[in-house]
């Protein structure tokens, strides 16, 4: 079950949506409205995410029409909800809450999620459960009053230090095979027992956090899906993550390649024949995958999605890493310096930001975060090419008996 499909679009087409936006803007002048009031009203008018149901910020329209609405608001100079700051809420929590949450939860959570009043984070990965997420060990035990008590440690949590809410997967039954004994919750991050510590990374800064959960209480009403069905719910979240990482339209030389070509053009004294051919190889690769992304979007636009999307993140990581590495070699002496190792907590992360040393180090994460390149290759091999899975030794054994 997933909400990522366009589904049967009801009623409104692009023109109808433009009319709705125009009517809304007539009543809410962006120039004079309070930002938050404007965003709340936009949500209430169903113009937040048009493919969501009416009453929950949408109009049951086709998903691909969202860009029409966004363009109209942008053209009117309307404030937006700063989507990059709340990406986890928009891209992962919201579709999961919509698919599995009770009506009360949807009403309570979705509006402040979309407006950005409440930031969300994701408590999935653990020190012992990375690519093998289903091995996770954070325990949730139901007490006599029906509430859940949670103990464990999560890791690689971006925004945990600013988040009001989290989506959380826990182990509720260690006596059954690992995929069967999990349960999914939304967690109020302000609860006692939630401790957030910055996780400093190789760049010197801390985009992410470790989250320690000690006797944290969660009401049963904050459960998404059935007890023991946490894996199915988590899959919905992760499928939406991949949709979100699918990649946006870029101009030629957009992204990392543009950084290196800029240096190449500005610093002719650094050029060597070997670097030249490598640069052009990577330019070609970046451009070919940029075109592949355009082709993918053209396929989606005519309703013929191909499997190409599975590979776009894999390609992105490889090309970005190779380009960032090349840039340091090109820079020579300047590559011996770094801008700043001071521990900081950046609000936004820009893979192509700061300077070359940072870009090189940060790019190393591209092949790990959101599914390692190795896992992605397995997915392509098995789901796209239909090759058999590796024999598994961990799916029929009780979770508590797995080697670890």
């Amino acid at each position: 079950m997933t909400t990522t499909d366009s589904g049967p679009a009801t009623g409104l087409d692009a023109e109808g949506l433009r009319t709705r936006v125009a009517e809304f803007l007539a009543d809410h002048d962006p120039a004079t409205s309070d930002r938050l009031e404007f965003l709340r009203a936009r949500f209430d008018a169903g113009l937040a995410w048009v493919h969501f149901p009416a009453g929950l910020g949408g109009l049951d329209a086709a998903r691909e029409l969202q860009s029409v609405v966004d363009a109209e608001f942008a053209a009117a100079g309307a404030p937006d909800n700063n989507p990059r700051r709340i990406g986890i809420g928009l891209g992962m929590a919201a579709p999961t809450i919509l698919a599995f949450g009770s009506e009360e939860l949807k009403k309570r959570l979705l509006r402040p999620l979309w407006t950005g009043e409440e930031v969300w984070c994701q408590l999935f990965s653990e020190p012992g459960a990375g690519s093998d997420l289903a091995a996770l060990a954070t325990r949730a035990v139901r007490d006599a009053g029906g509430e859940w008590v949670v103990n464990g440690q999560k890791v690689w949590t971006s925004s945990a230090h600013t988040a009001q809410w989290a989506i959380l997967v826990t182990r509720t039954d260690p006596d059954v095979p690992k995929h069967q004994g999990m349960t999914y919750f939304v967690l109020d991050m302000t609860q006692p027992g939630v401790e957030v510590r910055p996780l400093r990374q190789i760049t010197g800064e801390a985009e992410f956090n470790e989250v320690f959960l000690t006797d944290v209480r969660i009401p049963d009403a904050h459960r998404l899906g059935e007890v023991g069905a946490g894996w199915q719910v988590a899959r919905t979240t992760l499928m939406n993550e991949r949709v979100a990482i699918g990649g946006n339209a870029q101009p030629r030389e957009g992204g990392m390649v543009g950084k290196v070509t800029q240096t190449w053009r500005e610093r002719p004294e650094l050029r060597t024949p070997e670097l030249h051919d490598r640069l052009l190889r990577l330019w070609v690769e970046a451009e070919a995958f940029r075109l592949a992304g355009s082709r993918l979007r053209q396929q989606l636009a005519v309703g013929q999605p191909g499997p190409e999307g599975s590979g776009m993140k894999l390609a992105f990581a490889r090309v970005a890493q190779a380009l960032a590495a090349l840039e340091l070699e090109l820079l020579g002496e300047a590559a011996l310096r770094y801008d700043d190792w001071t521990m900081r907590r950046p609000e936004l992360v820009d893979f192509t930001g700061r300077q070359a040393g940072y870009r090189y180090l940060r790019s190393k994460g591209n092949s790990i975060e959101g599914g390692t390149s190795e896992v992605l290759r397995n997915i392509i091999a098995e789901r796209v090419l239909g090759l058999p899975a590796e024999p598994r030794t961990d799916t029929a054994v009780a979770w508590k008996d797995l080697p670890r």
Partner: protein, 372 residues
């Protein structure tokens, strides 16, 4: 840069199905292996069906000149299918190279119009008398010279599909500069060296005072030749994509069914990751090849960039796919009886065609302001 259409239209998909059906019936790997060592390495019956009955020889020629009035996009699609079958037909030499060169001559000239009609209808089979390895930006060739009496002398080596051509389109330099000429194959000495590529042969073509018809002179001849080379290079990317796709499909099929250590070898991650990477290369190669075909079809200003990029990328993709195909097949991939070697030979020879990938990258560097 206009937005390029990188998809296959319904008409293109229908055309693909027709060509694929024909090749499925008439160009099996077994028959190919028998043919490559016979006296008739080319299947001229298949070529006639493809060129005349399906009308593919004149796809990019205007209808008023006897063609189909389609474009380079459709030629590219046919090449994809021909690459997938390593079909032994002179499509690249005749329907692409010779036809593209003649199409840039003045069709008001009756000789030009007649030759173009002949090529477009498949009644005549042409070859462009330059080495297949000629780089798209190479200087006008000087190995054949034209005399004042209009006859040609000299040799063009390594001419693609030259052994089955009945007419050569020959760039030659005469007393008044470069010219493009047509020479009847009966007036040329055609020698067939042993070709590395078994399914697309080369020929060394020698002219000794051969009677010739001048199709274009001066700058027009130079432009016609460079147009033909650029079109050939850009569309070859689609053939390379077809080669790569066959190699990937066949490899995946094989490793699903090949058991070692008690399980399909395709269940080992060491192999799965290699074919996943290959699949990903094909995703990009398809986008690059479609972009080249589309920009050529529209005469887009970005076509030179698109061609250089597509050649650089798709050449290497085809070779990588064919090499992986051999390796992942293990011992059987190294045998003569398995067709994988036909694809490796085509892939490697095509990588060199119109200049090796590094040459295209050097050209690209100039085009996109990334100079050495």
């Amino acid at each position: 840069m206009t937005t390029a259409d990188l998809l296959y239209s319904d008409v293109e998909t229908d055309l693909r199905a027709s060509v694929r059906d024909l090749l499925g019936d008439r160009c099996s790997p077994e028959s190919l292996l028998a043919r490559v060592e016979s006296d008739e390495p080319y299947d001229m019956d298949l070529w006639r069906t493809l060129a005349r009955d399906l009308g593919t020889a004149g796809l990019a020629v205007p209808e008023e000149l006897g063609g189909q009035g389609a474009s380079e996009r459709e030629l590219a699609l046919v090449l994809e299918e021909l690459g997938g079958a390593v079909a032994p037909v002179p499509f690249l030499g005749s329907a692409v190279l010779a036809t593209a060169a003649v199409a840039r001559c003045d069709a008001a000239d009756t000789e030009v119009a007649a030759l173009l009609r002949g090529l477009a209808s498949g009644e005549r089979t042409g070859a462009l008398a330059v080495a297949l390895s000629t780089m798209t930006d190479a200087p006008f060739p000087t190995s054949v010279s034209a005399s004042a009496d209009g006859t040609l002398s000299g040799t063009a080596g390594s001419v693609a599909d030259g052994t089955v051509a009945d007419v050569f389109v020959v760039p030659a330099t005469g007393p008044d500069g470069p010219g493009l000429y047509a020479v009847d194959a009966s007036a040329a000495e055609v020698h067939a060296p042993v070709s590395f590529d078994l399914t697309r042969r080369i020929a060394d073509v020698t002219f000794r005072g051969a009677p010739a018809v001048r199709l274009a002179a001066g700058e027009r001849a130079e432009r016609a030749l460079s147009h033909a080379l650029r079109t050939g290079a850009g569309l070859l990317a689609s053939e390379q994509l077809g080669v790569a796709q066959w190699c990937l499909d066949e490899t995946v099929r094989y490793i699903k069914g090949r058991y070692q250590f008690g399980r399909p070898v395709g269940s080992f991650q060491a192999l799965k990751h290699r074919v996943a990477d290959l699949w990903l290369e094909l995703v990009a190669a398809r986008a690059a090849a479609r972009y080249a075909a589309d920009t050529l079809a529209r005469g887009d200003d970005d076509a030179p960039v698109a061609v250089a990029m597509a050649q650089s990328y798709c050449s290497d993709t085809a070779v990588h796919a064919a090499e992986e195909c051999i390796q992942l097949h293990g011992g059987i991939g190294m045998t003569w009886e398995h067709p994988a070697h036909l694809y490796l030979k085509r892939a490697k020879a095509s990588q060199v065609a119109f200049g090796a990938p590094g040459r295209h990258r050097a050209v690209l560097g100039e085009l996109v302001d990334l100079p050495a």
